[in-house]
């Protein structure tokens, strides 16, 4: 095959090109020809096709994501907003924090271990590229039915992959989620998030400026794995790659090398410390195509790259393949000529291969050469930032009304105390509500020696400064069942829960990232869910004052015609001035008073109870009251700062009883609960009304605490006491007049389910 040079493309305008196989639509191909004024070369076609894929261009979601930039709450903490590798917020004392969540759903279904592992690798490089030291990871996960045989294949592999990669990097895993629902059977959701910390002056951006500056590719050699990964795996063509069809359209899976990534982290941090880079970008989806076009597009000049210089693992790769390869553990830096030698020295110190592959030029073009011939000559913005934008049609699904009319509040309720007790026990042991310790114990949560809170606390928390005790906290939440019933409210509930979790730990919520997992954007039902969810999230962020700093969209999560539940996952980042004031979930002190904060209504739509007991999904999700969420958060934060509470646990799926049982198990104590006068026991224990938390108040603080709640107008109801000393073998969780469950029976029910299924 002869090389398809720019000259050749000019001379053979009619040559046939495989644009359709690369996932481009006819009008998209036409647009490329229009931009270039000729047909693209093979290499240019490769670049446009990966960069204009849904994954890289956000072509279906862009029009909706715009709101996150438009409805921005006043917030001085924001240092870098949407559009960079990750957003950056000010957390005080000169520190800045960058964080983001990304999806690696499709690869993890095909190859659970490597798919999940490289998902962690990718998000960590994003954080690193901002100039930050990665300090923690989180992993919101969703799988098919817990007892489905394929879940036995996928879950252990995903968990081992996340652990295998993250543990080897030395990043504590401080939170996440594990949710089972048969809607995820053919589309598990593997989202991964990372937090990084830096000083304000260390923030780095992905841009190539300064004519004559060198472009350096460093890290792993480029191989033939993962070619076209984003366009194949994260797009409609993925459908052809279901388990039986794997060979028909071989998915481009990559193998991760966490050791190489660890070296890359240390090497890059040392390079930052000596101020050696003018711009930097990680290589993720779309590999070099993405890195070079984004760097050049964001910078002031053009860029020239000699592809021959790229270190290869496989010498037979074509230039198109080199441009598209998604080999992991690579970074691209722009470096002033005078600093190149020192840059190379540091790479050598860390055994990292580094190569000058090009330089910043005066023009405005991205030019790529192979064997001395020009094979790419494009305006980089058209590749990186001016891809197609679709206004996909959307409409409220015809089935939505019927779904909402199928009211969960009308389901048969337990007839007596024994039935109530049995249902509580069943709930506590159900896969979604059971302890995830078997999973999270496969993750290192202690490494780096700064972990203040980790699983199973409400939020993860790490210390940022050893001397001042400044810390940051993060929680991630999402509830696909709520979002299916009402995507607008469901997205807001995801934010509200995550926000509440952070506040319950004592930290002040600052900003958010998200990972929006949905079905096919070509389905108007799904597109409506997406439009509603983004609108809901943007409105709620505005109201709560927590800007969106960045995020990720994963579409085409469906099997055949059936989409997953719409699943917006929200990660809230919070800050705490003094980590010694953090609030754990454990009930520890006998005799402390239990207060329920917020109001309880009959709200069972989408609830854990309706799923576990009735296998039902219908009605409306719990009502959202963001002003109440904000007030609750303020109370939780003040109470923690002023030492008025010793434990707090937010209420979410499973309701009050779930939270109380978890806090008792964590502390090793029992509890005695009294049903308030205005509630029936069932609603009291199992309703999922939002905006609530349970706290444990030392008797000496009771007055001060209730005064504060009263003064600020937050309903606080005394619902019982912590009962029995820590490790009392006879401790019970008792609901007076209803039932008593021995703590050890609860522990067994809560902890045996997951190992029973997967160990």
């Amino acid at each position: 095959m002869t090389l398809d040079t720019v000259k050749n493309a000019e001379q053979t305008p009619e040559a046939g090109q495989p644009w359709a196989d690369l996932g481009l639509k006819p009008d998209e191909y036409e647009r490329i020809r229009e931009i270039l004024g000729r047909r693209p070369t093979g290499a240019e076609l490769a670049m446009y096709s990966v960069m204009w894929s849904e994954h890289c261009s956000y072509k279906s979601s862009k029009v909706h994501l715009k709101q996150f930039g438009e409805k921005v709450p006043a917030n001085d903490a924001m240092l870098v907003g949407i559009g960079e590798n990750a957003g950056v917020v000010d957390v005080g004392q000169g520190y800045a924090v960058t964080f983001k969540v990304e999806s690696h759903n499709h690869p993890s279904y095909i190859e659970p271990y490597q798919g999940a592992a490289t998902g962690v690798g990718g998000i960590v490089r994003d954080i690193l590229a901002m100039g930050a030291r990665p300090v923690a990871v989180v992993d919101p996960l969703r799988f098919g039915a817990a007892d489905h045989p394929d879940t036995k294949r996928v879950l252990p592999g995903v968990v081992a992959g996340i652990g295998g990669y993250g543990n080897c990097l030395g990043l504590p895993n401080i939170g996440g989620e594990v949710v089972f629902d048969s809607c995820y059977q053919g589309n598990p959701l593997v989202n991964a998030g990372c937090i990084g910390v830096m000083k304000h002056e260390d923030i780095h951006l992905a841009k190539a400026s300064g004519t004559g500056n060198k472009v350096i590719l460093y890290g792993a050699r480029t191989g033939g794995d993962g070619i076209g990964g984003v366009s194949v795996l994260a797009s409609e063509t993925f459908e052809a790659a279901d388990p039986d069809g794997v060979t028909a359209n071989r998915p481009a899976v990559q193998v991760g090398d966490p050791f190489q990534e660890k070296l890359l982290i240390e090497c890059t941090l040392e390079i930052f410390k000596e101020n050696l880079v003018a711009g930097i970008q990680d290589l993720g989806g779309a590999g070099l195509s993405c890195a070079t076009s984004e760097l050049a597009s964001a910078g002031s000049g053009g860029m020239r790259v000699d592809l021959d210089t790229v270190p290869l693992r496989d010498s037979t790769l074509s230039p198109e393949e080199i441009l598209m390869s998604e080999s992991q553990e690579r970074m691209c830096a722009v470096v002033e000529p005078g600093k190149v030698d020192r840059f190379m020295e540091i790479c050598e110190k860390w055994d990292v291969i580094a190569t000058v592959i090009g330089e910043v030029t005066e023009g405005e073009r991205l030019e790529i050469f192979w064997h001395g011939e020009q094979i790419v000559d494009v305006p980089p913005r058209t590749v990186a930032h001016e891809g197609p934008v679709y206004q996909r049609p959307y409409a409220r699904p015809t089935w939505q009304d019927a779904l909402q009319a199928d009211d969960a509040n009308k389901l048969p309720r337990p007839a007596n105390a024994t039935e109530l007790r049995d249902q509580v026990l069943k709930l506590i042991a159900s896969p979604n509500q059971a302890s995830k310790a078997w999973i999270t114990d496969q993750y290192d949560r202690f490494v780096q020696g700064n972990t203040i809170l980790a699983q199973p606390e409400d939020a993860g928390m790490v210390r940022v400064d050893e001397d001042t005790n400044l810390g940051v906290a993060m929680a991630t939440d999402g509830n696909g069942r709520y979002a299916k019933l009402d995507p607008y409210a469901g997205a807001q509930l995801a934010l509200a829960e995550s926000y509440r979790n952070v506040a319950a730990s004592g930290a002040k919520p600052l900003a958010i990232s998200n990972c929006l997992n949905f079905g096919s954007p070509e389905d108007p039902d799904v597109m409506w869910q997406f439009a509603e969810a983004t609108r809901g999230l943007a409105d709620a962020c505005l109201q709560l004052g927590t800007p969106v700093t960045g995020g990720n969209v994963s579409l085409y999560n469906q099997t055949g015609e059936t989409a997953i539940h719409p699943t917006p996952v929200v990660a809230v980042l919070g800050v705490i001035d003094d980590v010694t004031r953090r609030t754990p979930i454990a009930f520890k002190e006998e005799g402390q008073l239990l207060y329920l904060l917020g109001e309880t209504h009959e709200e069972f739509g989408g609830s854990a109870w309706s799923q576990v007991v009735h296998d039902h999904l219908g009605g409306l999700p719990p009502k959202v009251d963001l002003e109440r969420e904000r007030l609750l958060a303020e109370i939780l934060i003040s109470a923690s700062r002023d030492g008025m509470i010793d434990a707090a646990h937010d209420l979410s799926d499973g309701g009050l009883i779930q939270a109380v049982v978890e806090s008792c198990l964590r502390g090793g104590t029992g509890a005695r609960l009294v049903v308030p006068d205005d509630l029936d026991a069932f609603t009291f224990l199992l309703s999922e009304s939002a905006g609530r938390a349970v706290v444990s108040v030392p008797r000496s603080e009771e007055l001060r605490f209730t005064d504060m709640c009263g003064a600020r107008g937050l309903p606080a109801t005394r619902i019982g006491v912590v009962d029995g000393t820590v490790s009392d073998a006879n401790a019970v969780v008792e609901v007076q007049g209803e039932f008593a469950l021995p703590l050890e029976e609860l522990r067994t029910a809560h902890t045996q389910t997951i190992p029973g299924l997967f160990a």
């Binding site: 191989g223 794997v246 899976v253 190489q260 496989d314």
Partner: protein, 87 residues
């Protein structure tokens, strides 16, 4: 009873970080002249009964569906002991 061996190796185009780490260590240990190292898995299966074509076909299937992940790995099935008297 006979022994059947299944060798599972990463496909040539897939990164083999373990093999690479071993190879990079060789010069330091004073070993020259080894241009590539790949590391894979070796399974030794003790098979009751005759290792006939049917048994080998089943082991082949086992390798394909379980021992190897054919998205990233290739495998080879070999009978190790003289065996095959069964024919």
């Amino acid at each position: 009873m006979a022994r059947v061996v299944v060798d599972v190796m990463l496909k040539p185009e897939i990164l083999d970080p373990q093999g690479q780490a071993v190879q990079r260590a060789l010069p330091r240990l004073g070993f020259q002249g080894i241009s590539d190292v790949r590391q894979g898995k070796r399974f030794e299966l003790e098979v009751d009964g005759p290792v006939d074509d049917a048994a080998l076909a089943r082991i082949h299937e086992l390798a394909e569906t379980f021992l190897a992940n054919t998205v990233i790995e290739d495998f080879v099935v070999k009978v190790e002991e003289p065996a095959v008297e069964a024919k």
